[in-house]
Subunit: 412 residues, 2 copies
């Protein structure tokens, strides 16, 4: 029998009614002849409650105990989903991570999947079980303790099962009906894409289009798992949602596929830094140690042995970044004239694998922004992405202007 | 190191503060030099919530899935307790049933413990771990699935661990400070007992003194585990609580140890039943099938081939019992003149192993009741117990009178 993996996130299993709704979707696929592996998250809110208890009990918790506690939410949903399917006369049973066993590293709370033996579950499929309901986000360490996979762990579980079982597809059921050219709340012309390449999805995911966890997309790309993002809350059809797939499976694509953005960015500039070998390490080492997630980095041309160094980070990390820089200055590790902070900027990016073969995308982007009178503060580029920092108040306008400029409302 | 087992019930771990309080008790025992095995229940209310979800999802649920869901509450508490102990610098870790492994039969939701290998936990004790926190109520079946032990399962888990590890004692922390001669809410002179024999505790437990689950007392008796019932909410001392132990460990005991009672009893009498061989089976078979828990049974002397048969059951089972009897009469299986129901009776019992060697206890009991003008409706006796049914309105009076008559307020 062909195998299908279906993953339901926290909002899709938040109540018994929603579990029933999800189970009906599973029933539809079973009726088509699939053996189905269902991956479930905890009912929404449950994991946060458990995490709250752990951190209140022990701020610097033993991650092994954190995992033992936090994994329990998924076990509850897995059992309830199996029972719901049984009520629909679909032969199903639940599997906890250690029962599969989903083998991981010992890096508790951020474990990596090492192996998913298929024997136990396949034996049950061959006995007539139609659905294996697996608790997502969890596994077992070589020491026999429960591990969890960290943020987005259930998406990663789903993709890993799809790879291990050679599944025809991995469907991620969520509260949006697919991946859009940009956020429809900001741009009314945003269009749901039928297909998107792994590489594009990775850029969009890491830029803040919170549909799929970056890690699960990476894994899907590596193992060639066809991922589909689809809504739990709308009517289902075979072409529903967005298929995330290899570039080769997309016949013709727009030069630009989507416009991503990130609202709460801050730009920090170290004015007149003494420019010497190792200066970048002297700046970004302390920032990393202080837990600052530096995103864009721009170094201006050096004049007379001094340069300006600009970087961006989330606004809520500005204080930490300032302290780290002033401490480094105090220790004499770096020397700068002034630290200028602009915490009212946003990042806007255009993404598309078509850029590789098309020149002039950057120029077109800058022109569109200029036409709206939007000043560009920082620019960075990658092979399939161009990002700019602009004043936050222009963010929505910039997204709309770029969406129009690249004609994203139209299918190619 | 000597091993101590400490069990904390749902109310004793209902909040993070209460878990902290319980952990401090554990710390005291560790400081005395014990290796401690802590058995925890789910936070109070949690198991009921999970059971509610299961039964709403699937009224005739698959007990294997029920167990997978319902066992999760104990896993949460076990992890939180381990974290709390670690915060107190007590080396501790949590164990789920399958990790021990606590091996049970496959009778899901009512599994019996088959074996508790001590190797895994003892290995950790010898590495310096001081406390093994074990999720109560759960185990693993020969098929590798999670099982639960049914009502009172955590008490049973605690006693079984004490037996397997040869523990010096098994302390059951609960919301009362010990076993009383009778319920202090009914009789102001009720006295907490320092010691009570297993046999007496069994009679008191099954008669409604809901301190310890009958099954755990039976297990403790079989394996000679010294059980102590002690309060989570009062100051601790070495002589706190009540020790449940072998008869031989009690130097001298009162003839009567306690007065038990059960308020909501009903007395049913089948008037003028045709007395023939097999008539008892013809009556009590249908009652059993109807789920009626028959307690006392009295058959009067037969006259001219007919007799009166009286039995008692909980008041909320009266309707079922009446229907079962009338149906049996309708089928011609039994024949009686009339079914008289008195649903305003209560059962009062005196219990004591001293009865075995003392005559006249029954006479003393009946005299005490007579002195208060209380009419006795039914009497049954066992080796260490005498029970009577009386009008419910006299129940409190009877308990107080018997407590006085046998001098239970005084230590022997």
């Amino acid at each position: 029998m062909p195998v299908l993996v279906m993953k339901f996130g926290g909002t899709s299993v938040a109540t018994l009614d929603r579990i029933k709704r999800a189970a009906k979707r599973v029933g539809v696929e079973v009726a088509k002849g699939y053996d189905v592996i269902v991956i479930v998250s905890a009912m929404s809110g449950k994991t946060n409650e458990l995490v709250g208890w752990v951190t209140e009990t022990s701020p610097l918790f033993d991650a092994r105990e954190y995992d033992a506690v936090v994994s329990s939410g998924e076990n509850v949903t897995a059992g309830l989903m199996a029972l719901t399917l049984q009520e629909m006369d679909v032969p199903a049973r639940s599997w906890q991570g250690w029962q599969v066993p989903l083998k991981t590293t010992s890096a508790h709370s951020a474990a990596r999947i090492e192996e998913i033996p298929t024997g136990n579950i396949n034996a049950k499929f061959s006995e007539g079980m139609k659905v294996a309901v697996v608790a997502g986000f969890q596994g077992i360490s070589p020491e026999g303790r429960i591990t969890t996979l960290g943020r987005g762990g259930s998406d990663t579980t789903a993709v890993a099962f799809a790879a291990a079982f050679g599944a025809e597809r991995c469907d991620i059921y969520t509260d949006v009906d697919g991946v859009y050219t940009t956020d429809p709340r900001i741009c009314g012309k945003a269009r749901k894409m039928d297909k998107i390449a792994f590489e594009e999805m990775l850029e969009l995911a890491s830029l803040g289009a919170k549909v799929l966890q970056t890690r699960s997309v990476e894994l899907a790309m590596r193992y060639g798992v066809r991922l589909r993002v689809v809504s739990s809350f709308e009517e289902q059809s075979d072409n529903a949602g967005t298929l995330v797939c290899a570039e080769e499976d997309i016949m013709e694509s727009n030069v630009v596929s989507g416009v991503a953005f990130s609202r709460d960015e801050a730009k920090m500039t170290l004015i007149s830094v003494a420019d010497r070998p190792g200066i970048a390490a002297a700046i970004f080492g302390p920032l990393s140690e202080a837990g600052v997630n530096v995103d864009m980095i721009v170094q201006n041309i050096s004049e007379e042995g001094r340069t300006d160094m600009t970087f961006s980070c989330p606004t809520d990390q500005v204080l930490r970044a300032e302290k780290a820089m002033n401490d480094a200055k105090g220790r004499g590790d770096i020397n700068f004239h002034e630290l200028v902070v602009d915490d009212a900027v946003a990042k806007v990016s255009v993404v598309g694998i078509g850029m590789r073969s098309h020149a002039g995308v950057a120029a077109q982007m800058f022109k569109a922004l200029q036409d709206e009178g939007i000043n560009i503060k920082v620019i960075t580029t990658s092979e399939i992405k161009i990002s700019v920092l602009i004043d936050r108040k222009y963010m929505e306008l910039a997204v709309q202007a770029l969406h129009d400029a690249f004609g994203l409302e139209k299918v190619t």
